[in-house]
């Protein structure tokens, strides 16, 4: 209701409307710029009015983003953006809430809030800028740092097995998960719009390049030469094929996925992508595909229907209000045993 009213009254918004008056202070060349710009672009297309959008972040280079976005926003504390947004969204379910976070912010200190946001399925959109490093604090390992990579805290090479963000999110209950490289703006825009449309927690992992500390870390995936072979771009209802000439496909083999070079005969067995499937196994398997044996899955891996947490809660509130023995506070206060003093 509210949404429609706003749409009618407002004049169409432009990217400029979403630019704040603050100077953007990321390093020149940082992948964060593209994400910001796609958010601004996406926001012009939302059904929500500008004043009904809230962007909440934690701490990190990525988490500076709300300052550059002319909406309501909170630059909160390290790792806590999902928690802050949970309180906010429950308090006012009419808002469109966007969480912006880094791989350290959401996978290290914020891991608990992240998995609980996924579990609850609050209708918020969480964008994780995965540069596989702590940018803001100058180059320490994060829980997505690959084994072997040298960082300030792993001077002899990292030896911690990294999280796969998609696997963790889906297992924790996320009903929407997508992955996009910062270098694919169009896909990023589409994914953001789908995340917006999806009811429930949407997690978008953006493979983001940090020019200072992990420059080129996603290169194999984004390089013009190699990207067709190394990205499996998923489209709902379409077969999972990739390669310059779509010469490869993904098929199943027991409960695993296998990569095949497509000959005419086996293209029939190529999996058709269904992000809306309830079961998580296939989505998890897709999220886990890695180089060099497999391409990395991009686009919307999971997108299933279910009631959002705030709907559930507000339904219960409504129901219990209807059924309550107390019409108002005074009745509550006077319930049970009372007595008069004259």
């Amino acid at each position: 209701m509210k949404t429609e009213k706003r749409k009618k009254n407002g004049k169409p918004l432009s990217v400029k409307d979403f630019k704040s008056d603050r100077n953007v202070k990321w390093c020149p060349g940082c992948g964060d710029y593209m994400i910001l710009s796609m958010m601004q672009k996406t926001f012009t297309q939302l059904d929500h009015a500008k004043e009904d959008i809230v962007c909440i972040s934690g701490i990190g280079c990525s988490s500076r983003l709300p300052y550059y976005l002319n909406t309501y926003g909170i630059h909160s504390i390290h790792g806590r953006a999902p928690a802050v947004s949970t309180g906010l969204k429950l308090a006012n379910p009419d808002l469109s809430v966007w969480v912006v976070s880094g791989d350290g912010d959401s996978m290290a200190i914020g891991g608990n809030h992240f998995i609980h946001a996924c579990r609850r399925n609050l209708d918020i959109n969480i964008i994780i800028f995965n540069n596989k490093i702590y940018g803001m604090t100058k180059g320490q390992s994060s829980p997505t740092t690959p084994i072997g990579m040298k960082t300030k805290t792993a001077p002899y090479g990292s030896y911690e097995p990294p999280f796969n963000i998609g696997e963790l999110a889906i297992s924790a209950g996320a009903t929407f998960f997508a992955r996009v490289p910062d270098k694919s703006p169009q896909l990023l825009g589409e994914v953001m719009m789908e995340a917006y449309r999806h009811k429930g927690t949407s997690v978008i992992e953006v493979l983001q390049n940090c020019v200072i500390f992990t420059d080129g870390i996603h290169e194999k995936l984004t390089d013009r030469e190699t990207k067709d072979e190394n990205q499996l771009v998923l489209t709902q209802g379409e077969p999972m094929v990739f390669g310059k000439q779509n010469e490869f496909g993904i098929q199943i083999d027991g409960m695993k996925l296998k990569k095949v070079r497509l000959e005419d005969k086996d293209s029939a067995n190529t999996l058709i992508h269904d992000a809306t499937e309830e079961e998580t196994q296939q989505h998890i398997a897709l999220a886990k595909l890695q180089l060099p044996d497999f391409p990395v899955a991009m686009g919307i891996i999971r997108n299933t229907e279910s009631t959002s947490f705030e709907e559930e809660l507000h339904n219960i509130i409504e129901q219990s209000q209807k059924k309550s023995s107390y019409k108002n506070l005074q009745e509550l206060f006077h319930s049970g045993n009372t007595w008069e003093v004259q």
Partner: protein, 615 residues
């Protein structure tokens, strides 16, 4: 009813119900409280049950007790010493005899004083028979067997029959205190609606006890406690946790805001969460968060969204909320953080009371992060301070820490139910200028609070956060002078709240020799002590109890000046005394402290004061 006993008038009396955890002592006590309230007495109650969820039956560890002080005068504590002790089994007697006054009355269930239970309570001999209770008046009633008798033919299972003996004991107490049984029978009918057998069982057991007491000669006289002189109105008993929850609900209604509560369970604060979770029926928005950090962060989100936002916890939870509280301070968001203190440090003694978290409330955050600290002082005034905390938070755009404690949380006292009209108005910090002139950190010139603009308001889009900001514009800045300005400004904003606070008042002497100072829940014991001392002719003693701790009321120094000596009493090693030394260093503070994880006894305070007066 024929009145066969002589009557003894008492100004106040303390009754303690005790038995095994399964004996329903809490319910028994509650019913007696209600009947006392209805009889016009003032009262205060306190439960005392095992830390274990279910301790072994008949063991000393498994004793559950409920203590109540009732009076024809104002009652501030559940009482130091017990006049009447109900002990349904040997373990209960063993655990509680130490509280009984010399000459006090024991009401025991003789049927339960058999070998098996005596042994579990470490008695070699039956204390009801070996003469060890000769300093007391003992009514050893065959409660179990007479209850069984009274309930036969009802068709109830044995367990239900046995369990009804608590009402038999209550019947004896009713007779002892000349209480009418009708209102309680009405209560049974309401509470057990649809279960006629249970109603019958309770009623019959109650009556059996009552008539047993009437026909026995053991109790020399029945006791009459005249009604107390309380303000007119409708009353109910309330504990501190419910009172805080309701105070917040009232503040939401009065301010026209929705109430958001985000909490994580912890003893002894959980009940605030339970109560408000049940109050979804009043529109409350409740989140049981994954931990205390999430709870306070969600509360910050709800506050930014424009709701009256609170989070409730106890010591360990507060420690976890520390970082986010700093964010609320610098962002200048309204937020109420309720700390139902328990005994620390660390996990400490989680079911016991202490006033050990004051220093943390004042200084617990990194950097200079001032906020409001207030404390409730009785179970019923938890309602008012719950309300006040919400009001001050919203009016001044600041986090407020409200300190309660285990003692207030589980204790009960009669609460006069106010109408919403009686409660002080809540003036939300509404911006009234032009949209173009507004800025996120634009301030009210008098109280320095900023204005509360919330998502959904067109043209007021803005970002807040934990980085230092330029005043008014809210833009990030590293400017040294600005930081200095903001540090002072955030403190000054808190200090100015004092202008709105009521003056600090003194009970007893308005000037003189000794001012006894307390804060929060020590109020009851100190107040009782000072009143008794005044009655005993110590005219030189005054008492003042602080509910507002940061900022202190404006007239604090003025009051302190009027006395030669100042004695600060608190359940910690001197946290408030130390705070006063920093705020008003020109006075000398003596201390009386207790660190036993239990409230002050009136007698302890009295003798300390006398010691000082006589020194």
């Amino acid at each position: 009813m024929p009145d066969t006993k002589s009557k003894m008038k008492m100004r106040k009396a303390v009754v303690r119900f005790s038995g095994d955890s399964g004996d329903g002592m809490q319910l028994t006590g509650e019913i007696f409280s209600q009947s006392s309230g209805s009889a016009g007495n003032d009262l205060t109650t306190i439960p005392d049950f095992p830390a274990e969820i279910r301790a072994p039956q008949g063991s000393i560890g498994g004793v559950s007790s409920f203590q109540i002080q009732i009076g024809g005068t104002e009652i501030y504590t559940p009482g130091d010493e017990v006049d009447v002790l109900v002990a349904l089994n040997p373990a209960a007697l063993s655990a509680n005899l130490k509280f009984l006054k010399p000459g006090g009355t024991v009401i025991a269930d003789r049927d339960n004083f058999k070998k098996k239970f005596l042994k579990k309570a470490n008695y070699d001999e039956n204390p009801l028979e070996d003469g060890s209770l000769e300093d007391y008046q003992v009514l050893a009633a065959p409660a179990s067997s007479l209850t069984k008798e009274a309930l036969k033919n009802l068709g109830l299972d044995m367990q239900s029959v046995t369990r009804s003996k608590n009402m038999f004991a209550l019947g004896i107490v009713y007779h002892l205190f000349n209480r009418p049984m009708e209102p309680t029978i009405d209560f049974f009918e309401k509470k057990f609606k649809g279960k006629p057998k249970v109603i019958q069982a309770n009623m019959r057991a109650l009556k059996a006890g009552y008539y047993f007491a009437e026909t026995t000669d053991v109790l020399p006289a029945s006791i009459v406690i005249p009604p107390a002189d309380l303000p007119k109105g409708t009353y109910r008993n309330i504990n501190g946790n419910t009172a805080i929850a309701w105070g917040a609900l009232a503040a939401a209604e009065k301010s026209g805001k929705k109430l958001s509560l985000s909490s994580y369970p912890i003893t002894p604060a959980s009940e605030i969460l339970h109560e408000i979770a049940a109050r979804k029926d009043q529109g409350a928005i409740v989140l049981q968060a994954e931990d205390e950090i999430a709870a306070v962060c969600a509360a910050i989100g709800a506050s930014y969204a424009g709701n009256l936002s609170i989070t409730s916890t106890s010591g360990p939870g507060i420690s976890l909320k520390t970082e986010a509280m700093g964010l609320a301070v610098i962002a200048e968001l309204p937020l109420v953080i309720i700390n139902v203190q328990r005994s620390g440090p660390s996990t400490g003694l989680p079911t016991k009371t202490e006033q050990g978290d004051l220093a943390q409330a004042l200084y617990g955050r990194h950097g200079e992060a001032p906020l409001i600290v207030m404390a409730a002082s009785s179970p019923d005034d938890c309602f008012f301070y719950g309300y006040q905390a919400c009001r001050v938070a919203m009016e001044h755009m600041t986090p407020v820490v409200l300190l309660s404690d285990s003692y207030l949380a589980s204790g009960k006292s009669p609460w006069r139910i106010p109408s919403l009209d009686e409660l002080p108005d809540i003036q939300l910090p509404e911006y009234e200028g032009e949209a173009e002139d507004w800025a996120p950190y634009l301030r009210d010139p008098e109280f320095l609070n900023r204005y509360w603009k919330i998502p959904g308001e067109k043209g007021y889009e803005h970002r807040i956060g934990g980085l230092e900001k330029e005043d008014i514009s809210g833009h990030l800045t590293y400017d040294p002078e600005n930081h200095e300005k903001m540090v002072h400004l955030r403190q000054e904003k808190i200090d100015r709240v004092a202008k709105k606070l009521p003056s600090q008042e003194i009970t007893g002497a308005q000037s003189g020799n000794l001012l006894v100072v307390g804060w929060g829940s020590s109020y009851g014991a100190i107040n009782s002590a000072v009143i008794e001392l005044l009655e005993e002719g110590h005219e030189n003693v005054g008492f003042t109890n602080f509910n507002y701790l940061s900022p202190l009321p404006e007239n604090t120094a003025e009051i302190f000046e009027k006395f030669d000596r100042i004695l600060v009493c608190e359940l910690n090693t001197g946290q408030f005394a130390n705070y006063l030394r920093t705020k008003l260093p020109m006075f000398t503070y003596e201390q009386f402290n207790k660190n036993q994880a239990q409230p002050f006894f009136t007698s302890e305070i009295k003798s300390e004061i006398i010691k000082i007066l006589e020194a």
